[in-house]
């Protein structure tokens, strides 16, 4: 079986860390900034960053529709933090004009855990992973509510912080900032299963 090619949406954010984590999880990883680059990947990571910036740049550079089409067509996608926001069908408190790619039937609350002074690290028990993963939460969002098709993978302090709906995976926290690549391995397996 050939190695899956996974893109990291490289408009803004911690792209480099995801590229490294994906490579460590045995995928070929490459940055994606253009529709033609998107067409060449088997799966995509939407990194952490500023969701307002990523949303604006995606619209400006013609990625919004192609990405929605790929997600609707079954391409596996994984979003962390801002990426989780971008994969939500609905944002509770969007900036005016802030659009998402969608893909998960959920409502998210941005910066729900607070500002930077409230950013924290904690162990998170994720369904399907045997021991807790290192959760790095930075001005992190949480998932306010989910639809019937959405599987809740993890909670912290009573709030949903990891979800999956079909081929779309999202976490409030940043596994890419740790040396623990188990969630990236899970995602690479999802991509492999689709090929």
């Amino acid at each position: 079986m050939s190695t899956p090619v996974i893109g990291v949406l490289a408009l803004q954010g911690d792209v480099r860390e995801h590229l490294i984590a994906l490579a460590a999880a045995d995928a070929v990883a490459r940055p994606v900034r253009r529709p033609e680059e998107l067409a060449e990947v088997d799966g995509l990571v939407v990194p952490g960053g500023e969701s307002t910036t990523i949303s604006k740049l995606a619209a400006l550079f013609g990625l919004m529709e192609p990405l929605r089409e790929r997600i609707a067509g079954g391409m596996p996608v994984y979003g962390t933090c801002a990426g989780l926001i971008m994969l939500a069908d609905k944002i509770l408190d969007p900036r005016s004009g802030q659009e998402t790619f969608g893909g998960i039937d959920m409502i998210v609350r941005r910066n729900a855990f607070g500002r930077q002074n409230e950013s924290f690290e904690a162990g998170v028990t994720v369904a399907g992973i045997d021991t807790p993963v290192e959760g790095v939460f930075i001005r992190a969002p949480w998932v306010e509510s989910v639809g019937a098709q959405v599987e809740v993978l993890a909670e912290h302090d009573g709030h949903i912080v990891a979800v999956r709906q079909g081929r779309v995976l999202a976490t409030s926290f940043h596994p890419e900032l740790t040396g623990d690549h188990r969630i990236h391995e899970l995602f690479v397996d999802m991509v492999r299963a689709e090929r």
């Binding site: 954010g13 408190d93 500002r115 188990r182």
Partner: protein
Amino acid sequence: MSTTPSTTFQSPETGTARVKRGMAEQLKGGVIMDVVNAEQAKIAEDAGAVAVMALERVPADIRKDGGVARMSDPNMIEEIIGAVSIPVMAKSRIGHFVEAQVLQSLGVDYIDESEVLTPADEINHSDKWAFTTPFVCGATNLGEALRRIAEGAAMIRSKGEAGTGNVVEAVRHLRQIKNEIAKLRGFDNNELFAAAKELRAPYELVKEVAELGKLPVVLFSAGGVATPADAALMRQLGAEGVFVGSGIFKSGDPAKRAAAIVKATTFYDDPKVIADASRNLGEAMVGINCDTLPESERYANRGW
């Protein structure tokens, strides 16, 4: 595969180095804009800024007005925090750890211990490990960057020469840092001890940089960026993102210029995008030639 024991995670921990440095990782590829009020902050956010720097006067005006430049009014910082959802940074004077305490209590997301303000201490910078709020500091060379990281800085930026609209000093600082890192890469272990002495930086940090081939924290450019091409230049020289101070709100059409600089920062290696972003932006800020600046007015010399 790592299997960290769950006992490590008794209770959530705030203010860790990973959380502070990780915050800066989220800003990469983005533009951080100086703003002096809520209205400008909204313009910056709408243009795609990843964060704003709240300050009373942009550096160009600090230069013009002279006098002692200090931390901004808490009211003004809170207004800006209330106006936008992106992170808000604010400046303290070098060594003025009480201004930094105040900024932390206001809930700013990052503190810039900045040479643009008048230094409060001629010998010491603030102990940045003592804070939950992360710090960004300016540097003109690798040794200075590593001294700031040793003091707890979670992000480094070039100093440039703020408020001039002239990118020459930021280019000098970034090239200097990059060249010194490249030099370290070529050193063997014996040479790293002497290198640390020469850089006046802790050996452990010097060794880490030699191994990583980069700083252990995010490196941005600051000082003098006025055009989309300036921003792209800094990124091609190795900056992971760009601060823009006076360059936006001292120009003819701030909203348009801000959006153009954001585009050029993301597509820094695509001259066509930069060309499109550069069209019809109106007047850029006028700018000052750095070699006509008297020594006493050079901000980059502040801090050590």
